[in-house]
């Protein structure tokens, strides 16, 4: 698993370079942070695609409907995106923007999981 070593090296090198630039050009250092996050997230998500293949295999093998797993995956995606965005805003000193991004992420996750909640409610209705 050389991915973790790669991610660590990229992260540490990026952090040190960011510190060098931050004194004179804080705006470029924020962009550098963004680039480091993008590169590491890209590497990670490429590795995650093989995990997703296994998940699809499990779905096919057990006949488990993808209607149940799709919202979970979507929530993971929304969480990663919202967390990265809000942390970058927080790092550049904009806590208000960061919390609004987080709220948007929470609402989007709720919106994505609405079909699941509907199914659950319908199931309870049939039982009662």
């Amino acid at each position: 698993m050389e991915l973790i070593i790669k991610a660590t090296v990229i992260g540490v090198a990026g952090a040190i370079l960011t510190l060098i630039i931050k004194k004179t050009n804080p705006e470029i250092s924020t962009v550098l942070t963004l680039a480091v996050c993008t590169v590491i997230a890209g590497l990670t998500l490429k590795a995650f695609s093989s995990v997703k293949e296994v998940l699809e295999l499990v779905e096919v093998g057990t006949g488990f409907s993808s209607a149940y797993t799709a919202p979970v995956l979507k929530c993971v995606g929304i969480g990663i995106t919202a967390r990265l965005g809000s942390d970058i805003c927080k790092d550049s000193g904009q806590a208000a923007v960061a919390s609004s991004v987080e709220i948007c992420g929470a609402v989007c996750a709720l919106y994505v999981s609405l079909p699941l909640i509907k199914t659950l409610l319908r199931m309870i209705g049939e039982l009662a």
Partner: protein, 64 residues
């Protein structure tokens, strides 16, 4: 998605920092600001493509 991107941006940042100091020491603060702004635009243009690739990857992977 490569490490080269990070080194590219860091190089631009260090270069601009030096230029900024040189220009502001010689009393040309307005030019220093312009250099900083143009460097910011260049660096953002570099990063934006990568971010759009990342978002496409996230969209495909998680079915958003």
């Amino acid at each position: 998605m490569d490490v080269d991107l990070i080194f590219k941006i860091a190089a631009v940042g260090i270069l601009v920092a030096v230029l900024n100091i040189l220009l502001s020491r010689s009393g040309r603060d307005d030019q220093a600001l312009m250099v900083t702004l143009s460097a910011l635009v260049v660096v953002l243009a570099l990063v934006v493509q990568e971010i759009s690739q990342l978002f496409d990857l996230i969209k495909n992977l998680f079915g958003l």
